[in-house]
Symmetry: C2
């Protein structure tokens, strides 16, 4: 097999991280990411085509953000249902373009098909230096576990829509924003990645508990959570509709905050880089301790579970 | 926007060619390609999951082959119907792996989803030198138009299955191979690309007539076809079932031969590089002449049409 630069590229990050990467030249890595949005499972009631397209971009960018890497270019493969109107398709295109512009990369190509399920498959390309890429696998015992935002709004919002059957117009602003207009923490992730303060990082698109378990497995460590970061809007929703606020925050998904581990002597610097947005939620422990929650009454294990997709609701 | 190498990558090939490319470092281009296979429109009756997965890879590789570029790595995003069995999914995985191995690249990441329509979205990454990338736009008046194989087997095979309702076991070997086990001309495309003999190139996945029109538009030239390259098996099928063999060859699709334009004084060299596989089918003419067929009785225009997808047949 002939290759540019005379050598076969070597896979340095494979299926077990947020992104994939191969070595090409010197210390530069080519970073690739694909994430597919499927209408029947990823589009909640009330979401516009434009918002769905943006969400597809956000899900991809968020994984790069967690690695501290900016996208350089993107491709989009679309599967469009025959029943979509010209306006729907224009909305999708405009949502994709606007989101790509927001995150600073061009969409340089793609493929359009007919499908029985709306499909927006995005691929991002980026270049990173190997030294700077923050993987899931670098967490060490004693590191501080931190997040970039409070959790629960997306799962509270989806619960409101799908289990409580609230109309989308009656969601609180925070819940509505989390469900319909999620954002990827690209600037924050890149700044943190460049600061040299992180040891591991992951995004939280499968939920906080899920992300903690992924970090735990990849880094071969345990994680002790001493504070579940629950948002105010989630608490209010939980109280009103009788849910456990902690569960909404831990076992949600479709949120795009970053979950990072920080060298203990670098936390202040990291939080300065993050402009005060880091919330410490626990510490890295030995593998044998698992992923657990410390509360006044003692320890409990945090199971590896997350939000189940809302099949058939769209 | 911060970028590797300090400069924003510049898009050098966009939506109007088989692939997309951006400039990164010196004369090196990053080449990206995505093509999505959708079950309801791209999988003919009788095709196994393994064959479908291979076809998805072939469709992507073929576009790189037409540019003279080898893939360095691939990503796969899957949309899987809930009714697929474990065995179906294993077949898809094994078809993807085997095809990637055949074409010499690793699949380094992906995403798996539930969908109402089988979706196999592949993205390929490659590195090329700008000088060597054979675009659609380089054909010049007087160049020889050539193809790497005879046409018609895929459209004859699909016509047999979908219009004549033949069972897939009763297709002739050539038609069966064209429909179920298509191949991308990667080695041939790379060799031709490196030989410096081509001025333009495209694959024929949308049919020969379609490809000729794309070359014509991108290069701003006309094309005169003096010989329609129809395969023997297509002629036999056409005679038996009363189709026009020329039409099957011109207005087919799902074939992955290369359609190239060659500098007239380099045709012998090009054909040597291609080990005698180049078939001259015509010449590049002035734009005003359009894409036309020269026969004993005179000229006729070749319309820009191709095979219509077989929606709802799978």
């Amino acid at each position: 097999m002939e290759h540019a630069f005379g050598t076969a590229p070597r896979t340095v990050v494979g299926f077990d991280d947020d992104i994939s990467a191969i070595k090409t030249l010197g210390n530069k890595l080519v970073v690739l990411k694909t994430d597919m949005l499927v209408g029947s499972t990823d589009i909640p009631p009330g979401m516009t085509m434009k918002q769905a397209a943006r969400k597809a971009v956000v899900a991809n960018v968020s994984d790069l953000a967690a690695k501290g890497v900016r996208p350089s270019a993107g491709l989009v493969a679309l599967g469009l249902q025959p029943r979509l109107t010209r306006r729907d398709i224009q909305e999708i295109a405009s949502g994709l373009s606007a989101a790509a512009k927001d995150y600073g990369f061009p969409i340089i190509g793609g493929d359009t098909n007919e499908s029985r399920d709306l499909t927006i498959s995005i691929m991002l390309f980026a270049i990173a230096s190997k030294r700077r890429l923050i993987l899931r696998s670098g967490a060490r015992v004693g590191d501080i576990v931190a997040v970039t935002d409070e959790f629960g709004d997306a799962s509270a919002g989806l619960t409101a829509l799908l289990k409580e059957h609230l109309h989308h117009n009656s969601l609180s602003p925070a819940l509505s924003r989390a469900v319909y207009r999620p954002r990827a923490e690209l600037d924050l992730g890149v700044a943190l990645g460049a600061s040299g303060t992180l040891t591991a990082s992951i995004d939280s698109s499968d939920g906080l508990a899920w992300s903690l378990h992924q970090l735990s497995q990849a880094s071969n460590v345990g994680i002790e959570v001493n504070h579940v970061p629950v948002s105010k809007a989630t608490r209010e929703f939980a109280t009103r509709f009788h849910y456990e606020a902690n569960d909404l925050a831990l076992y949600g998904g479709e949120e795009y905050h970053l979950v990072v581990t920080v060298k203990p002597n670098k936390f202040l610097l990291a939080n300065k880089v993050a402009r005060g947005r880091l919330l410490s939620i626990g510490v890295v422990t030995r593998k044998a301790d698992g992923v657990r929650l410390r509360q006044a009454e003692g320890y409990s294990q945090i199971p590896m579970k997350g939000w189940e997709h809302f099949r058939g609701q769209a």
